[in-house]
C-alpha cells in the first residue's frame, strides 16, 4: 500500500486544461471535481464532499478499475486525493467507493504531457537483474529542461516539472531527506552573476523554502540535520603565497569552497576552501573561459556527503575538482582535509593517493562516491579529441601504501563520451547506475558489466543529476 501523500486542499482546485468528469452520476459526491493537476498531467486530483462523515478508496484504470488508491484524505465530510502517475492524455474510468457503501463512478480525460518534456527511449529492461527501485528521478537538460520521475520499465512519466532554462541552470534535483519534497539548485548558466539558490518545493509546485546560495555552481548536498552544503565559486587574485608558479601571480583564479546553509536561519558559513589547501596551478581547464571572472582553476564539480567515511569513520564530504583531476575528502565538522586522491597526471599535492601501477587512471572525474565496501567510485574521462572516452572506475584505497588499486571498471573501449556531467552510483544489489551526462545515455550494469537497463534521450536532450527512487510517495 502506498503511504499517504497529503497535499493542501488549495492545490486541488480542478483545472480547466483537461476535461472534468461527469459529476452528475451520484449526488452523494457533492461538488465532485476530478481533473489533471493544472501543473502535472500525470497527477489526477479529486475533491468532493459527502452528506455525512465518511471515508473512501478510489479504483481507477484505463478501460477497467484495476488500480486502487487508498490514501484519500478525509476530514469528516470533505475529501481529497491526488493520484500520482496516471497515464497522460487518456480516458480513465474511476469509482469512489465509500465505507458507507455509496459509490460515485465517473470518467475523466487526463491532460497531455507538455511538448517540452523530453522523449526518452528504454533500450534494455531485464526485470530479473535490475535493482529493486522502479523509478528514475532526475534532470533533463539540453532542450527545454525539466525535472522528471519515470517508471524504469515502461519509460512512462510519473511526474515532471518544466523549467525556465537559459540563462538559469538547474542541474541537480533530489528528494529532501525523509520527504517527497524536491530540492533543487539554480545558478547562472554562464556563471556571470550571483543568482544562486536552492529551492524546496512540493511535487505540486508549492514553494516550501528557498535559500540564497550566492556564487553557487554545479551541485549541492544534504548534510546532517538538514544542513545544505553547496559548491561556491571562490574567486581571488593569485598571490605569491598561493602558488609555486610565479607566472600565475596576479591572475584572477576561480577556486572552490564548501559553503553550508543552516536551514533554520538561512545563515551561510564556509567549511573549506581550496585556497587554504591546494597551490594554484595551471590545470587542464585553466583557459577554457568557463568563468567570466577569471581562470578556471579547480572546477569543483561534485560534492557528496557520507555519515560514516571509510577514511575516518566520521562524517565527511567527498569534493571533486575536475580541473585538477583531484578529489579531496573533507571532515564535515572541522573542514580539514582527511584524504587526497589524484589521477596519474593530476595536480594533487605530494600527499595525494594515486592509481597504482597497472590500474587505469582517472581524469576530469565526476560524481566521486564511496561504495559500501569503502571503495572510491567515479565517472572519468580521458583522452583528447577522437581518443576522448568516458568510463566508470572503482578503486580500493590503500591508505598506508598510498595507492588506488582498480577493482572494477565499465565502458573502457566503448567510446561513449560525456563531455559534461556523468555519474556512477553503486546500488544495493551490486549493480551500478551510470549516466553519461551530456551523452544522453543512462545504464544500469551488473558487476560483470552486463547492461540490464538502458535509457536513451532523443537528440538534443541529456541528463543532469539522476538517482533511482523506490517510492515517489515517500521520496525514498
Amino acid at each position: 500500500m502506498r503511504t499517504a501523500w497529503i497535499i493542501p486542499l488549495a492545490a486541488l482546485a480542478a483545472g480547466c486544461n483537461g476535461k472534468d468528469s461527469d459529476t452528475g452520476v451520484n449526488e452523494y459526491c457533492e461538488g465532485l471535481t476530478v481533473a489533471s493537476s493544472a501543473n502535472v498531467a500525470t497527477i489526477l486530483e479529486f475533491s468532493w464532499t459527502t452528506p455525512d462523515a465518511d471515508t473512501a478508496t478510489i479504483s481507477w484504470g484505463k478501460g477497467d478499475l484495476a488500480n486502487s488508491f487508498e490514501d484519500v484524505v478525509s476530514d469528516g465530510t470533505s475529501h481529497s486525493a491526488a493520484i500520482l502517475g496516471v497515464p497522460s492524455i487518456s480516458s480513465l474510468t474511476y469509482e469512489i467507493v465509500h465505507a458507507s457503501g455509496e459509490v460515485c463512478p465517473g470518467e475523466v480525460t487526463t491532460n497531455n504531457l507538455p511538448a517540452t518534456v523530453p522523449s526518452m527511449e528504454i533500450g534494455v529492461y531485464d526485470a530479473a537483474q535490475v535493482s529493486d527501485k522502479p523509478y528514475l528521478a532526475g534532470v533533463a537538460l539540453g532542450g527545454q529542461p525539466a525535472f522528471f520521475v519515470i517508471e524504469r520499465e515502461s519509460g512512462d512519466y510519473l511526474w515532471y516539472r518544466e523549467l525556465e532554462g537559459s540563462p538559469k541552470l538547474n542541474p541537480v534535483m533530489t528528494f529532501a531527506n525523509g520527504s517527497n519534497d524536491i530540492l533543487y539548485n539554480e545558478f547562472s548558466e554562464d556563471r556571470d552573476n550571483d543568482i544562486g539558490a536552492i529551492y524546496r518545493e512540493s511535487l505540486t509546485g508549492e514553494s516550501v523554502e528557498a535559500y540564497d546560495t550566492d556564487w553557487a555552481h554545479h551541485t549541492f548536498e544534504q548534510g546532517p540535520d538538514g544542513v545544505l552544503a553547496y559548491v561556491y565559486a571562490d574567486i581571488r587574485e593569485v598571490t605569491a603565497e598561493d602558488t609555486d608558479d610565479a607566472d600565475l601571480v596576479g591572475f584572477t583564479a576561480v577556486g572552490d569552497a564548501i559553503w553550508l546553509v543552516d536551514p533554520a536561519t538561512g545563515a551561510i558559513s564556509e567549511l573549506f576552501s581550496t585556497w587554504d589547501y591546494l597551490p594554484v596551478q595551471e590545470g587542464d581547464l585553466w583557459d577554457d573561459g568557463f568563468y567570466p571572472q577569471g581562470n578556471n582553476w579547480t572546477h569543483g564539480n561534485a560534492l557528496n556527503y557520507y555519515e560514516v567515511s571509510p577514511t575516518t569513520g566520521g562524517p565527511t564530504y567527498l569534493f571533486s575538482f575536475g580541473g585538477l583531476d583531484v578529489i579531496l575528502e573533507i571532515d564535515a565538522s572541522s573542514g580539514e582535509v582527511v584524504a587526497e586522491f589524484s589521477g596519474d597526471g593530476g595536480y594533487g599535492t605530494d600527499a595525494a593517493i594515486r592509481p597504482a601501477a597497472g590500474s587505469t587512471s582517472f581524469s576530469f572525474q565526476h560524481d566521486t562516491t564511496w561504495t559500501d565496501d569503502g571503495n572510491l567510485l567515479m565517472s572519468s574521462s580521458l583522452g583528447v579529441g577522437p581518443s576522448y572516452e568516458t568510463y566508470q572506475i572503482e578503486y580500493s584505497v590503500d591508505y598506508g601504501g598510498g595507492a588506488l588499486t582498480e577493482v572494477w571498471s565499465n565502458g573502457v573501449g566503448e567510446k561513449f563520451q560525456a563531455f559534461a556531467l556523468g555519474q556512477a552510483r553503486r546500488q544495493d544489489n551490486g549493480n551500478t547506475l551510470i549516466s553519461w551526462g551530456s551523452g544522453g545515455l543512462i545504464r544500469e550494469v551488473t558487476a560483470d558489466n552486463e547492461v540490464v537497463w538502458e535509457l536513451g534521450a532523443t537528440a538534443g536532450n541529456f541528463f543532469g543529476h539522476v538517482e533511482l527512487l523506490g517510492d515517489i510517495y515517500t521520496g525514498e
Binding site: E107, T109, T110, N112, F290, S438, A457, F462
Partner: protein, 302 residues
C-alpha cells in the same frame, strides 16, 4: 458515456457536440527525404558562414543577418553523414551519438563567425582538439520566431584539406517530399455551438510512424480559397497561403475548443463555412521534420 464526458468542457459548451475525436483515418499522408552533400574542411579553426542562407531550407524568405538567431554545430563521433541523414529522415537521432556540440547566439546580426566563438554552456572550445577527422558534423540554424530549422548542413574533416570555411546556404540541404491530402477521410463539421477537437485517439502520424502525442505543441486551423491539389503543390507553405489562420499553443493539452481560437490580427474563429478548404493541423514546432504529425481536411455538413 465517454462522449458525454468529452462534451462537458469548462466553458459549458457541451450541448451540441459537433466534432468527433480526431482519428488516424482522417490523417493525411506525408513522406520526405532530406538530402545533402557533406562539405569538407581541414581540422582546427574554421569560419562558419551563413550569408548565403536565403531563402531558407523550406524556400522561405529570410534575412541571414537578422533572422538567424542561433547556430549549432554537433559532432556525431561514430556516425557518417549518410548515417546521420538516414537517422534524420527516420526521426531517429540519438543523443548518445553526440560527442560534442557548441552553439552560437547571433546577437550582433552577423553572417559569419569563427568556430572558436561558439561555446558549450559558456565554455569555449579548442578547435585544434575538437574539430577532427572521422565523425560527421551537423550544422543548423534557427530563428526564434519561426518553427523548425531555417538551415541545415553537414561537414566532415579531412586532414589534407586546406579549406577552413563551412558554408550554410540555401542549397546546403534539400527537402524532397510527397503529400496526399485527398485520400484521407474528411473531418466532418457543421454549424454547432461547440467544436471541441481532441487528439486523444490518434496513434499514427502522417509519416506513418507512431505519433508522439506529447510532442504536439501547436494547433493550426486555416481556410484557403485553393483546392486540395493546389495546397499539395505548395504544401510547406501552408501558413503563407492561408486566407484565414488561427493558431493555438496546445502543449500539455488533450483537446481544444476551436471556437476559442483567435487569429494573429485578433479575429475570433466564428465557425466553419461550406466554401473553400478548411484544414486542421497538429504541429510539432521542435521537430526537425516540418510536416505536421496530423493534418485533416474538413468537410462541411449541412
Amino acid at each position: 458515456m465517454i462522449l458525454l464526458a468529452f462534451a462537458l468542457g469548462c466553458d459549458g459548451k457541451g450541448d451540441d457536440y459537433a466534432l468527433e475525436p480526431l482519428t488516424d483515418a482522417q490523417n493525411y499522408a506525408f513522406s520526405s527525404t532530406i538530402t545533402a552533400d557533406a562539405q569538407v574542411v581541414g581540422p582546427g579553426e574554421m569560419t562558419v558562414d551563413w550569408s548565403g542562407l536565403s531563402p531558407d531550407l523550406l524556400g522561405r524568405d529570410i534575412d541571414p543577418a537578422t533572422q538567424v538567431d542561433h547556430l549549432q554545430v554537433v559532432r556525431y563521433g561514430s556516425k557518417t553523414v549518410p548515417e546521420l541523414l538516414d537517422a534524420i529522415n527516420a526521426d531517429a537521432l540519438l543523443q548518445s551519438w553526440v560527442t560534442g556540440y557548441v552553439t552560437y547566439d547571433n546577437d550582433n546580426d552577423a553572417t559569419a563567425a569563427s568556430i572558436s566563438d561558439f561555446d558549450f554552456l559558456g565554455a569555449i572550445i579548442d578547435p585544434d582538439a575538437e574539430i577532427y577527422s572521422g565523425p560527421g558534423y551537423l550544422l543548423n540554424a534557427a530563428d526564434d520566431d519561426v518553427v523548425g530549422y531555417r538551415g541545415l548542413g553537414f561537414f566532415v574533416v579531412d586532414d589534407a584539406s586546406d579549406n577552413h570555411t563551412i558554408y550554410l546556404a540555401s542549397d546546403s540541404a534539400s527537402l524532397d517530399y510527397t503529400v496526399d491530402l485527398e485520400s484521407a477521410e474528411r473531418v466532418q463539421v457543421g454549424e454547432a455551438d461547440s467544436h471541441y477537437a481532441t487528439w486523444i485517439n490518434l496513434t499514427t502520424a502522417g509519416t506513418g510512424s507512431e505519433i508522439k502525442l506529447s510532442e504536439l505543441d501547436q494547433l493550426m486551423l486555416a481556410w484557403y480559397e485553393e483546392d486540395l491539389s493546389e495546397l499539395e503543390g505548395d504544401f510547406l507553405n501552408l501558413e503563407g497561403m492561408a486566407d484565414e489562420m488561427y493558431q493555438q499553443d496546445i502543449s500539455g493539452l488533450a483537446g481544444f475548443e476551436l471556437l476559442d481560437m483567435v487569429s494573429s490580427d485578433g479575429q475570433s474563429f466564428a465557425g466553419f463555412t461550406g466554401d473553400g478548404t478548411w484544414v486542421l493541423a497538429l504541429r510539432c514546432t521542435t521537430c526537425i521534420n516540418p510536416a505536421p504529425p496530423f493534418l485533416g481536411v474538413m468537410e462541411y455538413v449541412e
